[in-house]
Every structure is written in structure tokens, then in C-alpha cells.
Symmetry: C2
Subunit: 253 residues, 2 copies
DNA sequence: GAGTGGTCTAGACCACCTT
DNA sequence: AGGTGGTCTAGACCACTCA
């Protein structure tokens, strides 16, 4: 029953020289976020609430929200509402630290959840990477990872059973590389990382509680041992607003 | 005058179990692109043409196009039309090669254009980076870079005049690092790179012939010399579908 | 000047989350 | 059960590109 949101005060100045009105609304909300009036995790008023008073169509309001989503300032939980994004964590591919480590280092709370684990025949694309014949059995692990209880990525890890036969009998909610090292004597000596913007497919989006098609970042990591064998092949689908990449290089004298 | 596009044959199967129709159209177009029926650079039929026959509203068609844009499969030229995206180039921050070099190595045609060069007072955020007082004069260079004639990024480079006094009198359409090395004896020994998804602001979007708010990737590079001084501060705004990042690391024995 | 995408309105119904 | 976002229709006018 209270004046719940100052967001609605965005009545555009009539004589303004500005552009489209959805950008004016975007600016309004962005300003509130930047000034800290809307803290991370806060839920925005509903789309229909933002309409009240203004003669604005709902579609126009949604345009402003999509814009902010693309910028990483807000995100949505499917059919629940729009929320202010927490700050992104920084990922440094040059360090060998795993998710649990570097998230914790940044003062955040990481957690991992195994969604599925099975030994399944290799699809041909993956078989090529492991240099086995298509259809050969490979361990496949699907996990979901959270930061401060917000799901930020799902990943599919593929491991060759030749290197770690009964891998799936372990608890996989911690560091996988750790298990490979400790229990199977595997040593990773080379790491390849590829990154590209993408849109989340329905399957991934569902697991993240997002809408299919929301922007994401695909990070593919391939680890090799000293003999050049692929140890671990990891496809990570990130919410695009949750990650930032940082690389620092010096010339070796 | 011909049957110009098979894209319109996407009449959804009536009894289908599938989801929203904009995703069906998305799949249709994506399929055509993947199969090579729509080559990179090809222009899609206009939105209103895609409507004809189907009883679909224009808004629904646009939703499919936005989705494909977010995935990086297509892009738009403002008020001109939708086009199939060319393949992305791969950027490896660990190599010290510049844009002109690595684009050429990948069989593509790079070009650079200087939009503006001036010596202007430092905004406080930038002054901090260079460790000068706010308002101190710094060289600022705005450039636009293309791959195969398509504008893919605009960048703003900031250089301390103390290191390169008459830098702006040079032609800046080539490698800037080259000029700094050759003419001013500056040696870069450290490079820091930061990356994050973003949305293109109006100013940037205009320079790229894109619509404000289209998804982008911000790459910030900071170069230092052996004494730890900032040599070059470079903010690159990329079309998100034009770049892919690749890092390869081995343990040093 | 014809055609394009960009913006906006004013409805509607649905699946799903929340309480 | 009520409210939320998700999808969709059917218009309209505008600014701009392109030939």
C-alpha cells in the first residue's frame, strides 16, 4: 500500500531532445542501480506496475528491461520477475585455480551440485577431441554452480574412463581436477581455454532458471597431461553478467 | 522477381509439440545458415516479406531475429536490413601480435581508420590509471577497425605525452605499438587484458553502423613498460559476433 | 520516393511461480 | 487464486537508407 517504487517517476520531459522513451526508462533504472538505490538481488517492480500512471505500453517497458539485461545490469527469473545483477566474478585463465577457489578468494560463496553423471557413448565431435572412436564410452558429468546461491553456470565435463575408471563413484561436488590428481595420479600440464558469447539454449536456461535465449558466455576448457592426452573436456555455460575475464602477462626475460 | 527465399516455407507443423513459434522460425533460419544456404554477408528478406503468407505478426518475426542476433548468427545494419554474420576471428591475448597481424594470419582483410586524434585533459578515471593529476593532457586516439570491410570494433587509445610527445603527427592507421617502439624507444614488457560482455552505447553503435544496445564485448588492454609506467590504455568495443578468445597454457618445467 | 527497420500502442491469452 | 512474465496479434507513424 505504499509508494513502492521511485522508478515510476520517470515521466519523460515533454520538450526533451532525447531519443526513444525506452532508453529514457533504461537510464532511469540504470541510474537507480548505479547510485545504489537498487541493491544487487533486489527485485524490480512488475512490468505492469511500471506502466501505471505513464501511458506507456508494456512492450515499451520490456524493451528497456531487455536493454538492461543485455548490459548485464539486471537479469530475470523465469516468470518470477526482474532482479538487479550481483557483481561479476573475475576469471583468470592463466591461474590454475578452480571455481571454488577463485570465487571464495573474491569474498563470495561458491557451491556445486551434480545434476547427472553417466558413462555414455561419445558423440563424434567429442570423440575426435579424445581421439577415440565415435560411440566409445566416456564419463559425462553435468554440474550446476552457484555464487551466493544464484545459479551462474552449468557445465558438462567429459573424462576418458581409461584415465579414471571408477570416477563416477566419487562425490563430484568439489574440485574434479583434485580427484583426478589424488586418486588417479593424473597431472595436467596444459590447459586450453576458448571463450565466446552465445545465447543459452532451452536446456541450459532451464537449469539456470533463466529464459531460453538469454545472453551467455561459453567457456570451453581442455586439459592435457604430459603425454598430450586429453584429461578433461569442460563446456561451461555462464550467465553473461556473472563473469569477467582477466589476463596479465609479462615478457619472460 | 523470383521466388526469392525459402525462408518463408516455415509454416509450423500444426500438431507439433514444440514451443513458441518465434523459436521455430529461428530454427528455420539457423538451419539455412548452418547448411550454407545463406552465406555470410547475405541479406535476409525483409521483415515484412517474411510475414507474407504466414499469419505471423511482425513483432514475432523480430523476436526470432533478435534471438539469432544474440547468438551471433546474424547482425543488422541500422535501417538497412539483417545480414548473416561472417565467422569470428580468434584473439589470443597471450600472443603479442596486433590486430593487423592476427586478422591477416586468419586469412581475413584488416583495415584501420582514425576517427579522431587530440590531446585532451584526462578524465579522473583515466588519470588514475596513468598516475597523473585529473585534467593533465593525454593523447586520445579514436579508431575504427574493419575485417573484410565490415566494421567490427571501435577503440579509444590513451597515451601519455611524456612518453611520446608528438605522437599525433604520425599516421595512426597501422600498429600503434610499432610507432611507440620505433620512434620513441618505448618497450612494452607487461600487458593486462580485461574482457566483459556489454551493450553498445549509441556513440559506439553509430560508428559501427549498428543499433544502440546491440550486444558487444569490451576488451580493455593496458600496456606497461619495464619501469611499470602505463604506455598505452586501449578500450576496444567489439561486435560480439566478431571475436573469439583463445588461451593456451603449459606448465613451465 | 519506395522500402526498411525502429518505435509505440492496446489489446489478448497462456504457462508458470508464488502464496 | 492471483499475479508474473512469455507469447502473440494488428495495427500505426517515424527516421532513415538506398536506388
Amino acid at each position: 500500500m505504499r509508494a513502492k517504487n521511485d522508478l515510476l517517476q520517470w515521466t519523460r520531459s515533454p520538450g526533451a531532445v532525447e531519443g526513444p522513451q525506452y532508453l529514457a526508462l533504461r537510464d532511469q533504472i540504470a541510474l537507480n542501480i548505479d547510485m545504489g538505490k537498487l541493491a544487487p538481488g533486489t527485485r524490480l517492480p512488475s512490468e505492469r506496475q511500471m506502466q501505471t500512471g505513464t501511458g506507456t505500453a508494456r512492450g515499451t517497458i520490456r524493451e528497456a528491461l531487455f536493454q538492461l539485461e543485455a548490459e548485464g545490469l539486471i537479469y530475470r527469473r523465469d516468470r518470477s520477475g526482474w532482479y538487479v545483477s550481483p557483481p561479476a566474478v573475475t576469471y583468470d585463465p592463466m591461474r590454475w585455480a578452480g571455481f571454488m577457489t577463485y570465487v571464495r578468494e573474491q569474498g563470495r560463496m561458491p557451491s556445486t551440485e551434480t545434476l547427472k553423471k553417466e558413462t555414455a557413448p561419445a558423440p563424434s565431435a567429442v570423440a575426435d577431441i579424445f581421439r577415440v572412436s565415435p560411440g566409445a564410452p566416456l564419463h559425462v558429468i553435468d554440474r550446476r554452480r552457484r555464487i551466493d546461491d544464484r545459479a551462474v553456470l552449468v557445465e558438462r565435463i567429459t573424462v576418458d574412463p581409461a584415465l579414471a575408471p571408477d570416477l563416477l563413484s566419487h562425490s563430484l561436488d568439489g574440485s574434479l581436477t583434485n580427484i583426478l590428481t589424488t586418486h588417479y595420479g593424473v597431472t595436467v600440464t596444459r590447459n586450453r581455454v576458448d571463450m565466446r558469447p552465445c545465447a543459452l539454449t532451452k536446456e541450459v536456461a532451464d537449469a539456470l532458471g533463466a529464459k531460453s535465449g538469454t545472453p551467455g558466455l561459453l567457456v570451453v576448457r581442455t586439459s592435457f597431461d604430459s603425454q598430450g592426452r586429453v584429461v578433461e573436456y569442460d563446456q561451461e555455460y555462464w550467465r553473461h553478467d556473472a563473469i569477467r575475464v582477466h589476463v596479465d602477462l609479462s615478457v619472460r626475460p
